[in-house]
Amino acid sequence: MMSLAAVQSVPTNNVAVRGGASSGQPVVQEQTAGTPAHGAHPRLETRALSVRYGGGAVGVADITMPVHANRVTALIGPSGCGKTTYLRALNRMHDLTPGAHVSGQVLLDGEDIYGPGVDPIVVRRRIGMVFQKPSPFPTMSIYDNVVAGLKLVGVRKRSVLDGVAERSLRQAGLWDEVKDRLKTGGRDLSGGQQQRLSIARALAVEPDVLLMDEPTSSLDPKSTGHIEELMVELKKEVTLVIVTHNMQQAARLSDYTAFFYLGALIELGPTSRIFEAPAEERTAEYISGRFG
């Protein structure tokens, strides 16, 4: 299993580039040294992304930031700052929210997922999501939950499904606990197991990016530990974006941290730099617990 050293290897010797808070520009700092070999290009990138809700309420405004491949990017900020709104824009989950309007671009490997003719279904197969509340399909067995993303689009071959189920459950660190009761209901698992089942289900369709909306906030410390280890392991294969309220968690396992406040991106940079030497006053105040 990959050690937490991967997190610490993120360089901290960059000089913070002040974007000038007065100009309203967020401090977005790219790495200049020690660029990871397989993370040279952003897998995902948003340009001037804004989400407005019905009645003119602004969810997030004008967010431009990269999400690097095979890295964990943490979105932090006080409640209502727009981090979940931003996350949900990354795989077009706002499409079904009445009155929600998304503008700007979200580039997945350079292609705008909001571009004309882009099928949101295809987008969501490449950009998966794990929700705050563990949410196994209530009427399905553990097995059927994991392979739902394949079986329900017509993959019928038993050998293929069996293989996917085992691989995904192993990736989610759940295989050993459930391999003897794959046919039992997903609802019978503990909360932590249910959340790992949700992760296995998301991984089964082999997404390039996995978005996680406070994946551990409803779990006990032990289950949280499980899932954190899992995330560090998973970034070998997928790019992770997590929303978290837990700053220790962001510090422990993310490579990059983005601080959101009042619907704006205030600061983005390597996690260690954000936590040790934030360039923005508000970032410093938030991570030191003075508000939020």
Partner: protein, 284 residues
């Protein structure tokens, strides 16, 4: 003094509530009791096995019954359900799951109006839609009339049951890259299954008790008929015919028909209740 006043007020409120409950339950008990007392004597084995035949049969004491009405009720009601369930469920799914659909406003008004419309008008509608064009009364026409009674009830209950299933269920499915219809069919509907069945059963029971829509559609007859293109008998409409007939023996049979109908409808409601409990227990 104030404490005493509060006690009195408490008793008064409780007395009013008890009175309201009694007013609610009493008519039901009176109906059940009255129907049982009057009809139990006519509830012979022959009642369930024989056709009605001509009035002479009953007056000469030959065995006569409402076997043909019971069979007809089952046939017409099930046929009506087979028309109404897909349409009602489709409308309910549309209202709940595709809330952005511009037709939803009109659909809601339509189902609301249908729901409040006197059932006899459904009969009139089926009369003009089926009886007139085909030139005859038929079981199909009766089923169409009853389907009009069922559709709005099913649509409304399916909509409200689907709305109570967690929204997250849909998001999880969509996030897996599943198309919307697939998410509805494979995750939302199974999760709401017992609630949907409850709604369908209630609509079924409601329609099964209707006589008015059948009077000039399925029309009724005194003999067993299994051809849905011809007039067929049903319990509620037979109950009405027996009650307005001039024969004493037929009146007694009408009471017996009321017992059977009552039991049938009560069984439907009890089943619906059991189902909705199972639903509430699991999805609470």
């Amino acid at each position: 003094m104030t404490l005493r006043f509060r006690h009195i007020r408490d008793y008064a409120v409780r007395a009013v509530l008890v009175l309201c409950t009694v007013c609610l339950v009493a008519p039901l008990l009176v109906i059940i009791g009255y129907v049982l007392v009057n009809g139990i004597s006519a509830l012979t084995p022959a009642f369930f096995t024989e056709e009605l035949g001509s009035p002479a049969r009953a007056m000469q004491g030959r065995p006569t019954g409402l076997f043909h009405s019971i069979v007809g009720t089952v046939v017409i009601d099930l046929l009506a359900l087979s028309f109404a369930a897909p349409v009602g469920m489709g409308a309910g799914i549309m209202l709940s799951e595709y809330s952005e659909n511009p037709l939803n406003g009109p659909i809601r008004i339509l189902t609301g109006t249908l729901n409040g419309m006197p059932a006899i008008l459904m009969g009139l509608l089926a009369f003009s839609l089926v009886v007139r064009p085909t030139g005859r009364f038929s079981a199909v026409a009766g089923s169409v009339a009853l389907a009009f009674v069922m559709v709005p009830i099913i649509a409304r209950s399916v909509e409200s049951v689907l709305r109570t299933t967690p929204w997250s269920l849909r998001e999880v499915g969509l996030a897996l890259g599943l198309p919307r219809w697939r998410v509805i069919v494979s995750t939302v509907l199974p999760a709401a299954r017992s609630g949907i069945l409850t709604g369908v059963l209630i609509a079924f029971a409601r329609a099964a008790g209707e006589a008015a829509p059948l009077l000039f559609t399925s029309f009724g007859q005194n003999y067993l008929n299994l051809d849905i293109r011809r007039p067929m008998d049903t319990l509620p409409q037979r109950l009405y015919s027996l009650a307005i007939s001039p024969y004493q023996e037929w009146h007694a049979m009408g009471w017996a028909a009321a017992i059977v109908l009552l039991l049938f409808v009560m069984a439907c409601f009890l089943a619906a209740r059991a189902l909705s409990r199972a639903h509430g227990g699991r999805d609470a």
